[in-house]
């Protein structure tokens, strides 16, 4: 190693990183520079992008309130997400850091993996179905029933647990059935957020149809999903009906 001269020693790191640099230059730097140049070009509705240069594009974005609103919304969104990430992420990290060995890795995997993201996104999409369903039963609840519980000496918490909660259970159950069925068969959200790494049954069927072109296999996956979904939903409804038969008309 000592025989290597200085010039060759100086070139070695560059040569070694050349492929990465090339990739970086071609895929990031070049498009960035091109975009920068493009932003100064003149645009004509009739003839498209012209060779002449101008500052008009920047002037338009800066002066038009339409873009101002969009930029502000984006900034607000970014700020809100940052704040929430701090609020959730900091305590989460502290908890993770104090966890024992195997659990720590497992939880870290969950946090970093796409599964949690898909769960969060689907929850966000489907929570309204639960709210609507519970809302309907809550509307039917006799408001005097809560007072009755209090007058009989129950604390508000005990009255909620023994009197209110059992009465909104049918709503919770029907909401659960809807949410379960919809998330089990969800396609768009897992496909967008989970990407190709995290497959669910719906995206797997899609891949068989359009990726491997194995249509029969894709079809059998889809049929199995449908049958399982119907069986679970029907079973739960039956169970709920039987359980609450005496209670509600």
């Amino acid at each position: 190693m000592a025989t290597l001269d200085d010039s060759r020693a100086g070139a070695a790191p560059w040569l070694l990183s050349a492929p990465a640099l090339l990739l970086f230059g071609a895929l990031l730097l070049v498009p960035l520079v091109l975009t920068l140049l493009l932003s100064f070009r003149v645009f004509s509705d009739v003839a498209g992008v012209q060779t002449a240069y101008t500052l008009k594009n920047y002037a338009e974005v800066v002066s038009d309130p339409y873009y101002a609103e969009i930029f502000l919304r984006t900034a607000g969104l970014a700020l809100a997400v940052t704040l929430l990430s701090v609020l959730l992420g900091v305590p989460e990290t502290i908890v993770l850091a104090r966890m024992k060995r195997p659990w720590q890795s497992l939880c870290l995997l969950i946090v970093l993996g796409p599964l949690l993201s898909v769960i969060i996104a689907l929850t966000h999409v489907l929570v309204p179905f639960m709210v609507m369903s519970v809302w309907a039963t809550l509307q039917k609840l006799d408001p005097q029933v809560e007072w009755a519980g209090l007058s009989l000496g129950g604390s508000p918490l005990r009255v909620f647990r023994r009197v209110v909660l059992p009465q909104i259970m049918p709503g919770v159950l029907s909401g659960s059935i809807i949410v379960f069925a919809l998330s089990a068969s969800a396609f768009a959200t897992p496909a967008l957020i989970g990407g190709r790494r995290l497959k669910v049954v719906a995206t797997a069927a899609y891949d068989e149809f359009l990726g491997t072109l194995n249509w029969p296999l894709g079809a059998s996956i889809a049929v199995l999903l449908l049958v399982a979904n119907v069986a679970i939903v029907m079973g739960c409804s039956r169970l709920a009906e039987r359980r609450f038969k005496h209670v509600f008309e």
């Binding site: 006799d142 005097q144 007072w147 009989l152 509600f248």
Partner: protein
Amino acid sequence: MTFLTLQGLSKRYGDFTAVEHLDLSVERGEFLSLLGPSGCGKTTTLQMIAGFVTPSAGRITLGGRDITQERPEKRGMGVVFQSYALFPHMTVAGNVGFGLEMRNMKREERAMRVAEALDLVRLKGLDARYPKELSGGQRQRVAIARALAMRPELLLLDEPMSNLDAKLREEMHIELRAIQKRLGITTILVTHDQVEAMTMSDRIAVLHKGRIAQLSTPFDAYERPATPFASTFLGRTNTLPGEVLGRNPRCAVVDVAGTTLHVPHEGREVEGAVHVYIRPEKVRLANGDARMHGRIANRVFIGNQWLLEVDTELGTLRVAQPNYGAPPPEEGHEVGLAFTDDDLRVLTRESAHGNA
């Protein structure tokens, strides 16, 4: 001995005053009704006593202890609601035993008390039913049993009979009053039904626009109304506008449409424009001793009595004639009418609160 006292109790919702400076004392063992039309503040008053609604001003004391700020679950009052408010997911026994369960009473003792309460309202053997499987009358009995199983010192009834049909309601009036007397439990009933209030109560508080318009025994409330509102709200009455001409120690001399009447004033100040009241059942058809004559304008038969409208020199008088057997003369006939001065009442017109 005064058991429950309301002092200057008020409830305001924004600009609306539901209850205005209400003073009321209830004796131990007494049955008192808060009677009035909807919106008179009777239910709000009950809800403040129960602790569901916080008063805007005033004090509530129970057995000498100030409970104005006490939470409803600490007050230990039995409440029967208009909707009954039974727990639909619990059996009859579960409903009746709920209060005892909240007190962490042992299972065996609880079962005994539940059976006892159900026995009291004659619902033995229905322990395992769900509210849905009961009739309206039975549900109401469960609600009463649930309140009584706690052995509360004070029982609050919020229009408990308004969802029952007329016959059942009459039966429940008598039965509930009997239970109340047997247990000696202090009871406050909120109702808009004057027959209900009269049948069951020791005293009636007639409420009007958040204030007490009359507070007396049912008999006095009907016979000696203290305010124009109480006169017209309790039962039917003839209201005759008149003018006070003079006054002697016993009677006010009142001119009604040209006829001079001597009306007992019972010590009240009456002057100027007044109303003279006479109940339809105090006016009777008469021949020899007729005091005035009139023509029957309208005649209606309602079974136990005839309701007549007779055009007289005082104006149109409603007359209630018990059904003795023979029908009264038909419409258009001249009849003689009789009543005594003692049956007349007089109150100064437009006095909203009277001088009770």
